[in-house]
């Protein structure tokens, strides 16, 4: 039988519908966070050094979308296409391994003058990446345990 419901991205029609909703949620979160960030800047409050404020806002929007994808089962069926979550976890672990020694050896601060330092922001980014990877693995185990029938 022809399999016409999977797009190039390996999602079926229900998943494509859900994906659209997830993107909408992500866009709303991004807009709200950018608005709050703009307001804080206007008030002279800098909560992260350099470009890290914007990078973390992007991660927040993207991380929420990816978490929703995983929780709502918007995942392609082929393991190769899902490897991005495992890669994220590996990158997160590498970031963590690069950052943690600075805390203990150089006593580098995570927060300086009320703003997140590069190290602090990097560690938050690593935590998001590892969290998404763990969420994906949990979902994968849950799906495997559920078997071929509800």
């Amino acid at each position: 039988m022809r399999k016409c419901f999977m797009g190039d991205d390996g999602l079926d029609e229900r998943q494509l519908l859900l994906r659209g909703n997830v993107y909408k949620h992500s866009l709303i979160v991004l807009m709200a966070l950018l608005l709050i960030d703009g307001f804080l800047r206007e008030e002279g409050i800098v909560w992260a050094q350099g470009m890290w404020g914007n990078v973390l806002i992007l991660w927040a929007g993207m991380g929420l979308a990816m978490a929703e994808f995983i929780l709502r089962g918007v995942l392609p069926r082929s393991p190769r296409q899902n490897s991005v979550y495992i890669l994220l976890g590996i990158c997160g672990l590498m970031l963590l391994a690069l950052g943690v020694p600075h805390i203990f050896l150089d006593h580098a601060p995570l927060i300086e003058d009320g703003a997140l330092t590069t190290l602090g922001a990097g560690l938050i980014q690593a935590a998001v990446m590892i969290g998404l990877c763990l969420l994906f693995i949990s979902r994968w185990i849950y799906d495997r345990r559920q078997g071929p029938e509800d």
């Binding site: 029609e13 229900r14 078997g147 071929p148 509800d150």
Partner: protein
């Protein structure tokens, strides 16, 4: 939308699991489960493919009975 028990029984009569039916029509198992639970309203294209896979007509599976209307 109510549960699609007719689809569930047609699948069971054919001896297929949700996963096997999903593989035949090219969707995920969760989508088949959502259709059976009445949580998702499939497109006509998918309905036709499900009917073909189960060897039944569209009316038999998806046309609402008098008590469902």
């Amino acid at each position: 939308m109510g549960k699609n028990l007719r689809m569930k029984s047609a699948r069971a009569a054919k001896g297929l699991t949700q996963q096997e039916l999903a593989d035949r029509v090219g969707v995920t198992r969760q989508t088949v489960s959502a259709i059976e639970k009445g949580d998702y309203n499939p497109t006509v294209r998918l309905c036709v493919d499900i009917c073909r896979a189960l060897g039944v007509t569209l009316n038999e599976l998806f046309w609402p009975g008098e008590d469902e209307q």
